[in-house]
């Protein structure tokens, strides 16, 4: 019985992911060791850097928020048979849309934030939809289309950001969004007199309020559940999955395959756009001119992979990724170790996740060992 349980565990994707994470951390340790740093100390620094103070935890969550959503974007498209490499560009469009709507519309608080977020999501959904349309109408591979659109988004962003009337004086970024559009938790109060007085009495709260802690994470969690719900509980999700698994059969049974491709890419775009929009509304308050891609969209690919392309899986995967990124950033300061080590760890995790065959080989090897150990009947 316990043997069967173990076998079930070994075959489950969760076990497999954990295995990959641990192996990735071990590889990272090896790299640290080779470069002359103590892995134990390094991981200690990272873990300390994530958990030892409330503000660290808050920052970890802030770092993870956009990653969860770009991960959702890639995972959602993937579940419908499409490979969305364009989360990066969609993120940029989402950020730009939210920044413009946040800075130049005049609306009451809360409503303004919602409208600005929706503006960003809409801009990114269109951006994703373009790739979907190109594929449906002209058969352009979505991988190529989205890569191209990433660059288009980057330069479009830089063009719009630099336009007179939009550009903030003495900065290469848009005007700051209005306070009514901010989604930080009590941004004004925490700097006010009353806020300061409260913070002096509450060290825990004080520490959290030092960060731009915002409601983005709640939106990310909601979106993860929403994606799961769309995919598994609606006719739209049913059709999207059918098209993803077997487009020919879907066409034969009357599903509008091309239309569904466009909707899938639009939804994926909207998700990455939400990441960009909330990033702006919750933290940066502006869309800046970009010298290069920031990479939050590309990181979404890794998050989706680690999360097993499941919307819910993107939550822990995004948190892990965010934690490693944030905690890892402290390596440089504490140990003078290069931050690239963290990237190696993440790379190694993705590498092992993407290598399902390895686990199977290990499983077989273990079986053989067991057989040689005297167990006569093989499974």
């Amino acid at each position: 019985m316990s043997d069967e349980k173990r076998k079930f565990l070994a075959a489950s994707p969760l076990f497999f992911t954990l295995f990959s994470v641990i192996t990735g951390l071990l590889v990272g340790a090896l790299v640290l060791l080779v470069s002359g740093y103590s892995p134990l100390r390094a991981y200690h620094v990272i873990i300390d850097g994530i958990f030892s103070r409330p503000s660290y935890i808050a920052y970890t969550i802030i770092y993870s928020t956009p990653l969860i959503m770009t991960g959702l974007s890639v995972a959602f498209a993937f579940r419908t048979g499409l490979f969305n490499i364009g989360a990066e560009g969609q993120f940029i469009m989402g950020a730009l849309g939210a920044a413009l709507a946040g800075a130049f519309l005049n609306l009451p608080p809360v409503i303004h934030a919602i409208v600005a977020a929706l503006a960003g999501i809409a801009a990114a959904a269109i951006w994703g939809g373009i790739a979907g349309f190109l594929k449906a109408r002209f058969g352009v591979n979505e991988v190529i289309a989205t890569i191209m659109l990433n660059w288009t988004a980057l330069y479009l962003n830089n063009y719009i950001v630099a336009l007179p009337g939009i550009k903030r004086p003495a900065a290469t970024a848009t005007a700051f969004i209005l306070d009514s559009a901010r989604i930080e938790i009590l941004p004004l109060w925490k700097a006010s007199e009353a806020g300061r007085a409260w913070r002096a009495l509450h060290p825990f709260g004080h520490d959290i309020f030092r960060t731009p802690f915002n409601v983005g994470i709640l939106v990310a969690l909601f979106l993860a559940f929403f994606c799961w719900w769309i995919l598994n509980r609606t006719t739209l999700g049913y059709e999207l999955r059918a098209v993803g698994h077997n487009a020919e059969c879907s066409e034969h049974t009357g599903i509008d395959v091309k239309g569904r491709m466009i909707s899938s890419m639009s939804i994926a775009g909207g998700l990455a756009g939400a990441a960009g929009a909330l990033h702006v509304l919750g933290w940066t308050r502006q869309a800046a001119e970009l010298a290069a891609m920031e990479g939050l969209g590309f990181d979404g690919i890794a998050v989706a992979l680690i999360g097993g392309a499941s919307p819910i899986g993107c939550i822990p995967a995004g948190l892990l990724f965010g934690a490693l990124k944030y905690g890892g950033s402290k390596l440089q300061f504490a140990l003078r170790a290069p931050i690239e080590v963290v990237n190696i760890v993440i790379g190694a995790i993705v590498f092992f996740v993407a290598m399902p065959k390895l686990l199977r080989i290990i499983g077989r090897w273990q079986q053989r060992k067991k057989r040689q150990g005297g167990d006569s009947h093989a499974a």
């Binding site: 006719t235 049913y238 999955r241 698994h245 077997n246 049974t253 009357g254 009947h377």
Partner: protein, 514 residues
């Protein structure tokens, strides 16, 4: 290598008490199986009986859970197809494994190319060798032709040549006749005779009884993973073999009520369409299908049947001509619109067009109807209704295993077909298009599918049957249209048709050529 067993019985293959488990499923239960050198041995059983599993163990694709395998009297442990090939075993799978854009010769030598200096391919040498082999066994192929341009029958001969080129002494053919016309089957039988005349041993996995009578010397019957027995084919009748295989008496006759046809429900007029390569595939097809009849479309594979079905289901555009269905012009309708009007289709390729493999049985059963109540309301699925619907159909159509959350891709071919049938028939369509509805199915499942098709017809609906199997055509049809090179060359009433006449028409002879 055939030496070494001269003193013992001349057994090419001996499998002893082979047991194979997949999880808690027992696919082979202590099966003894032996094949004499130079014989044609048929392995008979229903789909899912475990015959392919048994042969896959001989070919090294699976390892037996227990049991031993002897080749030419020598104990072997075959862990990979490569080892099987080294032991002189070759296998032609049901789905051919050929590289489409490569030539026949390239496919045959692929993986063991002879190379000259600097690793340059010795094409001329390869060509010579292929020609020699093909002449020796009567395996007519065009060595320079590309796979994508040759017929299925020739592709099969290429697969056989591939095995021979690798030095196979024992050939395993998995369902070799499933894709062939009657004439091609006769030709294959001759090839097999040539092979055994040259001392090769042939194992045929099949569930078609007539071919066993035609080709095989002995026959081993497997049912539900258990060996029922090995018999001399000559000593048993077809129905005796069928009974061994299914475990009960099987009727080959299909019971039908007399025809009560009325007005046509589907009319095609001068339909022209192209195939995937842009060449004319349908050259002016005019055809009526009436309510209450089964119209069978007979023809050799590749004469426009697939294109015609695609035109009818809305997957292929017509160049000219019109399709009328239930008194409306549907030529430009999308597949979804046609389905709404009452057109149902059982596609020829179950896995490709009939099912979404990773979907559950329940999910597959609501394709086409998922947007309608009770399965969904305002875009939100009602999982309870979907589950209930699935349990009902699983029960009514005897789908096994009876679990609605089972993945469609893990079902046997027969049960996959039952899922499709259940889905299409319960929609109560006005016209059911059944393309090769029994391809690859076992006797029991075929009997079942035939009954259901006749039932649809008896309820006053129209059935268009597209089949490559003449027996099936003759058993089911009320009228038979013969298609040849994209034209309907004849429409016969069932009484006027027999195998000879149809065979001739299908080959393009003796027709009133249009």
């Amino acid at each position: 290598m055939p030496e070494g067993t001269k003193n013992t019985v001349r057994l090419a293959v001996e499998m002893k008490r082979i047991t194979k488990r997949f999880g808690d499923f027992l696919a082979n239960d202590a099966i003894d199986f032996d094949v004499r050198r130079g014989e044609v041995h048929a392995l008979l059983g229903e789909n899912g009986a475990g015959k392919s599993t048994l042969m896959n163990q001989l070919y090294g694709l699976y390892l037996p859970s227990s049991g031993a395998i002897f080749i030419n009297g020598e104990y072997v442990r075959i862990t990979s197809p490569k080892m099987a090939i080294a032991r002189g075993i070759g296998m032609v799978h049901q789905h051919f494994m050929l590289v489409q854009p490569f030539t026949v010769t390239e496919n045959i030598v692929l993986g063991c190319e002879s190379v000259g200096v600097f690793g340059i391919l010795d094409n001329a040498g390869a060509l010579r060798e292929v020609e020699t082999l093909s002449n020796r066994y009567g395996l007519a192929v065009d060595p320079g032709a590309r796979i994508q341009d040759i017929s299925v029958a020739m592709q099969q001969r290429v697969e056989i040549l591939k095995c021979l080129y690798r030095g196979a002494e024992i050939l395993i053919l998995d369902e070799p006749t499933a894709v062939l016309t009657p004439q091609e089957i006769d030709f294959l039988a001759e090839i097999i005779r040539n092979l055994t005349a040259e001392g090769k041993t042939v194992i045929i996995i099949t569930h078609k009884l007539r071919e066993i009578k035609n080709m095989a010397h002995r026959c081993t019957v497997i049912r539900k993973g258990v060996k029922i027995g090995t018999v001399d084919v000559a000593s048993r009748s077809e129905s005796e073999l069928a009974e061994m295989m299914v475990g009960r008496a099987v009727t080959f006759e299909v019971e039908k009520a007399p025809v009560r046809t009325s007005e046509p429900v589907l009319s095609l007029h001068e339909v022209h369409a192209r195939n995937n390569r842009g060449l004319p595939a349908l050259k002016g097809i005019s055809l009526d299908v009436k309510r209450g009849e089964i119209l069978a479309l007979a023809g050799v594979d590749g004469n426009g049947q697939s294109e015609l079905v695609e035109v009818l289901t809305g997957l292929r555009r017509v160049d000219s001509g019109s399709v009328r269905f239930r008194d409306a012009e549907i030529t430009d309708f999308s597949p979804g619109q046609r389905i709404e009007r009452g057109l149902a289709a059982i596609p020829e390729d179950r896995q490709k067009r009939g099912l979404v493999g990773p979907f559950t049985i329940a999910e597959n059963l609501i394709l086409e109807e998922h947007t309608q109540p009770p399965f969904s309301r305002s875009g939100i699925l009602d999982l309870q209704a979907i589950g209930m619907h699935a349990r009902m159909l699983i029960d009514r159509f005897d789908i096994r295993p009876p679990r609605e959350r089972y993945r469609a891709s893990s079902l046997s071919g027969g049960n996959q077909q039952k899922v499709i049938l259940a889905r299409e028939i319960t929609r109560d369509p006005e016209l059911l298009i059944a393309s090769q509805p029994t391809r690859g199915l076992d006797v029991g499942a075929i009997e079942y599918v035939h009954k259901r098709l006749v039932q649809v017809r008896d309820e006053g609906k129209a059935v268009l049957l597209v089949s490559l199997d003449l027996d099936e055509t003759l058993a089911l049809a009320d009228r038979i249209a013969v298609i040849y090179e994209g034209r309907i060359v004849a429409v016969l009433d069932r009484e006027e048709a027999d195998e000879r006449r149809l065979g001739l028409l299908m080959a393009g002879g003796g027709a009133v050529h249009v």
